[in-house]
């Protein structure tokens, strides 16, 4: 599969701060690459450098096999960007906003009208064509923001945290739309600090921290880095220290915590760990209200790699 973006040794510094540190990666055609990292990890700075919105000290950036520069207008024609902040005119209606932003790429009026109708349908704003942004809810506004970035049918789309402060219904709508764009052949770079979203839509994930790539691969590949197999959580009213010691002594148990009536047991390996723990609790005549098992998350991966939570 051909590379749509190739970034080599990208370095961006703000006075004392190195926001992006010798970063190298590529984005393959037709994939959704997730850039995952906490706030300040360099995700947005990397995107702004790729788009030539920011100068950078070192590195090479190629898009569609050509060097990306501020005046590379032929490349820009095929790029769409959805910024974290809503970037629309408050004075224009939904349709007028789309007409203006699409008009910056598509001169032919009829083609533009077709594209705008398709973009409106994609984000589900058909009923709001004549609404001004002030009349739209936060979720609808985000959808308009996305529509403005993709109305001209770009081959490469950057989505910079498009679901921040969006209600669950709108979030699902937005994520479905992004998958639809990928299915239509677009390559997508998606930055977020919501790991659930990354797991839902990304084909490949790159974890960033302090401007460096910590790890990259598919979600399953990354989860293997977490070095834990399973996490079992039990809601139990009372537990003696002696019982906790016995649990710690069980096979494959990595860590045991008991706080506020919640017992958390982390297994580093093994199979049927949940069943074995249930048997142990019954043997010890310990009653519990709820018990469930979780596979490791990307947050666990991040914790393993950096020693801190993604949302810290």
């Amino acid at each position: 599969m051909a590379n749509v973006i190739e970034v080599k040794n990208l370095t961006k510094e703000y006075k004392e701060l190195r926001a992006v540190d010798d970063l190298s990666f590529e984005v393959r055609q037709g994939e959704i690459l997730g850039l995952l990292g906490p706030n300040g990890s360099g995700k947005s700075t990397t995107i702004n450098c790729i788009l030539s919105l920011l100068n950078f000290q070192k590195g090479e950036i190629q898009i569609f096999g050509q060097e990306m520069k501020p005046d590379a207008y032929s490349i820009k024609r095929d790029i769409g960007v959805v910024f974290q902040d809503v970037a629309v005119f408050e004075e224009l209606t939904v349709y007028e906003n789309l007409n203006y932003f699409c008009g910056l790429y598509v001169q032919d009026k009829e083609t533009r009208e077709t594209y705008i109708d398709e973009a409106i349908a994609l984000v589900g704003l058909e009923e709001f064509r004549k609404f001004r942004p002030k009349k739209l809810s936060g979720g609808l506004l985000r959808r308009l923001n996305i529509a403005c970035g993709i109305a001209h049918k770009p081959r490469l789309i950057f989505l910079d945290e498009p679901t921040v402060a969006v209600d669950p219904q709108s979030r699902n709508n937005i994520l479905d739309g992004i998958k639809m764009l990928r299915d239509r052949g677009a390559t997508i770079v998606y930055t977020t600090h919501y790991m659930e979203e990354v797991e839902m839509i990304c084909d490949r994930v790159m974890i960033l921290d302090k401007g460096k790539v910590l790890a990259q691969g598919s979600c399953d590949e990354l989860k293997k880095l977490a070095k834990i197999e399973e996490k079992v959580t039990v809601e139990v009213a009372k537990l003696q220290e002696a019982i906790l010691e016995k649990i710690r002594a069980l096979k494959h148990v990595e860590e045991v915590k008991y706080e506020d009536g919640v017992l958390s047991v982390v297994y580093r390996a093994g199979t049927n760990n949940l069943v074995k723990l249930i048997d142990f609790l019954e043997t010890e005549a310990i009653s519990y209200s709820k018990i469930y098992s979780e596979r490791p998350t990307l947050n666990d991966v991040f914790l393993e790699l950096t020693g801190k939570e993604l949302r810290d």
Partner: protein, 389 residues
């Protein structure tokens, strides 16, 4: 066309404010035109005078009263000194003349009797004093001449001589062929247009540019496939078109209000040229402000300060001749000063040649120099912003 259409849509949101500024211009401009500018008209002044005669009203004394009555307004006041003083205090009377007992006899005898007066001290009272002194000096001169010739005075012949001398007046003729009144009104309207152009053009352009220059919008434009220069050029052209429209509308309104006959005259063309140059300057100020400030509320306040401040300091609201020298000296640093100076000059030009037009061209040159300075500053600021990115 996409940029122009978006410009018009954003502009449409400012229409309320533009209409408000236009209404202010028309209403206050029209009110301002009602004030009369008499700088080129001549009207003889008649002071209010009260004569208290303690002498017999005949001969020289009678003629003095008659002369004063002819050239002043005689006022009746209650016969008490307190009432006279009150009349002076309230400016009901400018000048009170007390003709002493035996005034006539003393003059004929060659004496120089003293006439007591009371005065408000204003220019009207000086004129009354002038009349009184003129009569007294003329009479005394003839008495002296008669007495020197044959030692006696024929009062009837003397009064004939005095009357004939005092009849002589200097004729004042206004030579201007301009309708000074109408031209003055037009000049005051164009002075007032300083406010309309500054407030209207700067407000609208700044508000529209603030929308287009919003950081998030600017970034979206920058990453688009439309060249930045092309976009800026289209935006500049849209703003220029709006400014020309505003100027044309205000100019046409001015000629309708003040006299359409001036439209094709040299004066009319000069007013139009001057205001067009000033409109260009207002556009450059708008570009500079839009580069400096992004916050719309702050912009609104600053625009009002600039528009109203310029108008008050430079003589758009208050005639230039009433402004203190210090204020006018400070106003030199504002383009409005040179614009208003030109309007004031245009109404006085009788003969149009290079020498008379030269001051207008110089002032327009100064306004254009201001515009160039604002453009350079705006470019420096936007360049610095790009570098900081």
């Amino acid at each position: 066309m996409t940029v122009f259409k978006a410009f018009l849509k954003v502009l449409n949101q400012c229409k309320g404010t533009v209409i408000l500024y236009s209404v202010i211009l028309i209403v206050f401009g029209a009110l301002n035109m009602q004030t009369n500018d008499n700088s080129t008209n001549f009207v003889a002044s008649r002071p209010d005078v009260l004569v208290i005669n303690h002498d017999e009203e005949k001969g020289i004394t009678k003629e003095l009263i008659s002369y004063l009555k002819k050239n002043t307004e005689f006022i009746k006041v209650e016969d008490s000194e307190e009432a006279r003083n009150d009349a002076l205090f309230y400016r009901d009377v400018n000048y009170i003349v007390y003709i002493p007992r035996d005034y006539r006899a003393d003059v004929l005898a060659g004496k120089n009797p003293e006439i007591e007066i009371k005065s408000t001290g204003d220019y009207q009272s000086y004129y009354a004093q002038l009349l009184l002194e003129r009569y007294m000096k003329t009479t005394r001169n003839y008495v002296d001449i008669c007495r020197a010739e044959d030692g006696s005075v024929d009062e009837t012949a003397l009064l004939e001589q005095v009357k004939s001398t005092l009849k002589k007046e200097t004729a004042v003729e206004t030579t201007s062929k301009l309708d000074a009144d109408k031209l003055g009104r037009l000049s005051r309207y164009f002075n007032f247009m300083n406010y309309g152009l500054l407030a209207g053009a700067i407000f609208t352009i700044c508000m529209v540019l603030a929308s287009f220059n919003k950081e998030v919008i600017r970034r979206r434009i920058l990453i688009s496939s439309m060249k930045r220069r092309t976009h800026n050029r289209l935006l500049l052209l849209s703003n220029a078109l709006f400014a020309v429209f505003l100027w044309a509308a205000y100019t046409v309104i001015g000629f309708i209000l003040c006299g359409t006959e001036f439209f094709a005259t040299k004066q009319g063309i000069a007013y139009m040229a001057n205001s067009f140059v000033f409109m260009f300057c207002a556009v450059t100020i708008a570009f500079l402000l839009a580069n400096l400030i992004q916050n719309k509320e702050a912009l609104n306040g600053i625009i009002n300060v600039i528009a109203l401040g310029s108008c008050f300091l430079c003589g758009a609201f208050v005639p230039v001749e009433y402004l203190p020298d210090g204020v006018l000296a400070a106003a030199h640093i504002l383009p409005s000063y040179w614009y208003i100076q030109n309007n004031e000059t245009v109404k006085t030009i009788e003969t149009w040649n290079f020498e008379t037009v030269k001051p207008l061209l110089v002032n327009m040159g100064v306004i254009l120099a201001f515009s160039v300075a604002f453009i350079i500053l705006a470019n420096l600021l936007s360049g610095r912003k790009r570098e900081n990115a």
